[in-house]
Amino acid sequence: MNPILLEAVLVCYAFLLLLVEAFNSRMPRRYFGWAAVVGTTVVFFMTFFVDSSKMNPEAGYYGFYAADTLAILFKRFILLVSVCVLIMAIEFAPVLVRYLPVEKPDAGSGEMYSLVLFACAGMMWMASAQNFVMIFVSVELVTITFYVMVAMMRGNRASLEAGIKFLILGAIATSLNVYGIAWIFGTLGTTELPEIGAILQSIDSSLFPSLLFGFGLIFAGISFKVAAFPFQFWVPDVYQGAPTPVTAFLSVGSKASAFVVLMRVLESMLSNSELSSKILFMLSLVAGVTILMGNLSAIPQTNFKRLLAYSSIAHAGYLLMGAASIVSGNSGPAIAYYLMAYLISNMLAFGVLLVVGKSTGSDELVHFNGLGKKSPWLATALTLAVLSLAGLPFTVGFFGKFFIFSSALQAQQFILVGIGILGIGCGFYYYLKVIRAMFWLPASKEQSISSPIEISKPYAVMLILLSISLIIFGVYPEPIFNLIP
């Protein structure tokens, strides 16, 4: 099977859903959600039947599209994220509907599912993008879709505010990106990454300033997506205001696909040693500050969603630390593993947050008080997720951190490792705060409903699968590692 079919099928299916949703107003909207889940799952299984002879990046597509093993891996990864997000969106629909116009109660909740599919297709293209034009187009597909999804709760001020912030800052990032691409194209006369890499190996050093200028702009655009310092300021506000499934999607899918793009761009830019020393210095500085900013600002948070937002900044920092250690040669697999670990743990955390937020009507940490007594299973799942985010051994997050740190040590980034360890120390403080709230603090008076939180069966299955894989891959990481090229 031709790999290009994966996205084509997904997009056509999303169009189909969108049209059926528009022309059929009687069918309950959650059916579309399940249809989207089925479609995404089918595409996920299709990735296992990709024709390996078509996977050669030279085989065509005019140098736009690479279907190497890394791309396929990330496509699977993104499809899994999308399945989780869709299931979460179905669970979240009653809350979403509450903030939509009254006269048409279901309007807007159906589009959510097709939008997730579009964003998913965009991320899959990002994973394959081999050309700056392709990168730009696919990034825009994702970003524009997210503008809509973030502001989906039209009747909610926070959601609208988040939407506006994301839109304006996203537009700035986009324009920088294009500007940077223009500089690189103007300097080298090509937008194809492999060609750029080849040209850079023997290039006159008088062209460096314009190249670095262009790269800096592109890096700023990508940093906005991965939430790296100093382009991370939008993250807490947008994460907090957006609907919870969208937040989860932003924090995992968007970040992961942006990292693939970053790795590909770096791979071509670092082929010149003089350029690479400057770029790596900048990367390590950004990584260090991002780790510090994320972890330190997370400490005083009292809102769990906001806390997760800062924690996602911190994780971006660890991932950038991996990217800054690219000379070790192991950082690619380490980043891939870290993202897998981050997917599992973060999805689990957001999954529990969603149902707790849905039943209590708020994401404040106070509302997690006494969860250990009220719904012990949910509390256990969240404990696992949080411990894995903190990087405790026997959870999948431990190996993620372990691989990143060992590749950083190999690249002799000792200062960065020191900062990273400081960050992990801070991390334990605020992650344990969540556990403390659930198991030690008594539930406050007004929310002393002692009945456990009700969740639907499929949702429970998703949470259980995530928890189990969190432990299994924490003890035995081999299967994931075998997938990574």
Binding site: L212, M282, S297, P300, F405, I421, R436, W440
Partner: protein, 605 residues
Amino acid sequence: MMIAAIPWILLLSPLVGCVLILFFGRASKLLSSGIGIFCAGLSLLCAWFLWLKGGVVEVPSFPWVDYTSFGKQFRISIGFLLDDLSLPMLVVVTTVAFLVFIYSVGYMAQEEGYWRYFAGLCLFLFSMLGIVVAENFVMMFLFWELVGVSSYILIGHYFRRDSAADAAKQAFTVNRVGDFGFLLGILLIWLYSGTFSFNDLKGKAQVITDAAPWLLTTGLVLVFLGTVGKSAQFPLHVWLPNSMEGPTPVSSLLHAATMVAAGVYMLARIFPALSLSPIALEVVSWVGGITCFLAALMGTQQNDIKRILAYSTISQLGYMVIGISVATASTVAVFHLFTHAFFKCLLFLCAGSVIVGMHHEQDIWKMGSLKNKMPLTFIMMGIGTFALAGVPPFSGYFSKDLILEWAWIKGTPVFWFGAITIALTTFYIFRLFFVVFLGPPRSDEAKHAQESPRVMLLPMLILSILSLTVGWPFIGHFFIQPVHPEHVPLFLRFILIGFLAVGALVAYLLYAKGPLKDPIQVAVFENRFYIDNFYDWLVKEIQGRFAGICAFVDRWVVDGFVKIASGCVWLFGFCLRMLQVGNIQAYAFYFGAGILLIFFLLLSK
């Protein structure tokens, strides 16, 4: 084939027990304790079988992580290293654990969360055995962390009590500090030696030493941080006394006999590498000496029966750490580890018996005259006391003096810390003994105290026999053959005995007559040199202020920055000034500033 399966049974049976108790233990108390004791017993039998069979047992290891693609040989296996060090350790751990399991049936009879308690104990036993048999650093580290988790669960057993929950958290957090050092050390050693395995370490350590001696030293000192955390060495000792909030059998098993000794055991494991680095040995030796001395000083002024024993544990662990650093073989420290495991476990079980008899009163100044009410406990506590003090025929004498002899031979000033600590040890333990068992009863509970049930007395009896005899050369050598130094001057023995006598005499003069309250009060010792207060202050002030700064930055960036931003934006052109309302402006400003920063980093020469 059969032999190869036995270590697996030994390791996994407590884990199976833990899972079974979690699922079925809620049904009845008998079932939980039954499963627990059965599984511990099974491990005990396996351990004794392997030990008596003798010889090194080869167990095929199970490749767990194996990436040839991942840079250097990145190979971790789950395997067993069963040699002269781990086999007797297994015997000691399982024996003590088995006895404590039996004791718990009596001690916990009236307590809540019976199944939770036994599940926690089983989990602990599993992870402790994992540490002992571990064949490489990573496996040891994983079980090391697991031990921390089970310790956390067990200290926080009475989680409804705030102090217990806080103590559990403190123990966990303080241990993490040490563990990060440990992990970093492991990575550093791996980075330059390319191996995690203890067997390969010795040869590789020589290679590193030849290449870069400071590197091995740094790695080893970082690894030693793990010991400092787990074995409660100064300055990370603060968690151990607070961990006494857990049930007494837990204090006995985890926080006296086995878990805290894991740090020393780990040092013994890496001893071949450690002995190559004189600087690392010096660090180890001083940390041990200071811990040993300070903890004993603090112990002299505590009033809680369990806390006195806790400080005594820290002090004794200090001796073991000294033992590692001064002797030419790790067996000297391990010998003291074994004798200490038995007598300290005994002391804690006796203390538990006293506490049950006193209806959960732990203040020694509310006790007194228990000699008549609890005669058996009195006798056995006496044996434990003599063993800890190191009175000659008892086990503690042999192991402790051996360490000090080595320290003397080495001629290090740490010897004097150890020697003076003998006097202090004798003083505080006899103070405890006299106040609790002699003198007048100081409260109503003391007047109506009762002897404990037989299920508690039996393990205590076995342990007292072991505490008495295990130091005797012909019995002790059954476990381990410590290396004796040559040319020990005779007067050294007299000095040590003299210190012992001084301590005992002072304690006798001050406490034997039964004073109603403590005749000497040294605030500095009682308040543990204000180290705890210092940490509290540190946490509250530094971290509080730190968090305050973070909160300030957050508010500054997110909410309050608009005004300052608008001022700064002036400099960057008044286009941005048009967007004066709302926070986006500040963000956009940052965006611009960030790009300038990146340009600066990239384009500056």
